[in-house]
Symmetry: C2
Subunit: 113 residues, 2 copies
C-alpha cells in the first residue's frame, strides 16, 4: 500500500461542496454503490460519478468491486489528516497566545521590582 503525501488542495477542495460532503457522510455510515448514491441527489448519474471521483482523488473515499457494482467506502485516515492540519493551526494560535502572555508576565514582574 503506497502512502502518498496528503494533497491538502484536493482534500479541502473535495470538502468544499455540499453534495460531496453528503456523499462522504453516506459513505461513512453505509455501503452504497454509485447508482444507489446517485438516487439521493437531484442531478444526473454521471454528475454524482464525477463527485465520487473527486472524493477518491482526494483520498477521502475508495471504491471496491462488490458483485456487479462498486461500493464506495470512506477513508477515515484522510479525514484525520485534514483535521490534524486544522488542529496544528489552532496549536500555532495557542503558541502565540502563550508567547504574548509570557511577555506580559515578564513586563509586569519588571514593573513590580
Amino acid at each position: 500500500m503506497q502512502m502518498v503525501p496528503p494533497d491538502f488542495d484536493r482534500m479541502f477542495g473535495a470538502l468544499a461542496d455540499h453534495t460531496r460532503r453528503d456523499i462522504l457522510r453516506r459513505a461513512i455510515d453505509s455501503e452504497e454503490g454509485v447508482a444507489e448514491l446517485a438516487t439521493h441527489y437531484p442531478m444526473s448519474f454521471a454528475a454524482v460519478q464525477k463527485h465520487i471521483a473527486v472524493l477518491e482523488r482526494a483520498g477521502l473515499v475508495t471504491k471496491h468491486q462488490v458483485g456487479r457494482r462498486k461500493v464506495v467506502r470512506s477513508n477515515v485516515e484522510g479525514l484525520r489528516v485534514a483535521r490534524r492540519l486544522l488542529g496544528q493551526y489552532e496549536e500555532l494560535w495557542r503558541g502565540r497566545i502563550d508567547r504574548m502572555t509570557q511577555l506580559v508576565n515578564e513586563y509586569t514582574r519588571e514593573a513590580d521590582q
Copy 2:
C-alpha cells in the same frame, strides 16, 4: 456581533489553496498588513488582496484598520468550526464501527448458546 451560520463551502474552499493556507498561517502568528503579506508571494498585490478577501468571506480572518494600513488577523473560531465538522464525521465513523461490533457480539453470543 452578528453570528452567521458557518458556510462550509466557503470555508473548505478557502482552505483548498496553498497560498491562502500560508496567509492564514502567517495571520495566526504575526500581524501583518496586506502589503507586507503580499511581499511573501510570487504574485501581484491585487492577487494576494483577493486571496485575503476569500479568507475573510469564509470567516477565517478579519481585517482591522491600524494606522494607515489594515492588519489581517486570524479568526480561530472559524478554524474550530471547520475542524469540528471533520470531528463529527470521524465520530459518525466510530458510531458505525460500534454498531458493527455490537452486531458481531450479539451474533457470537447467540452461537454460544
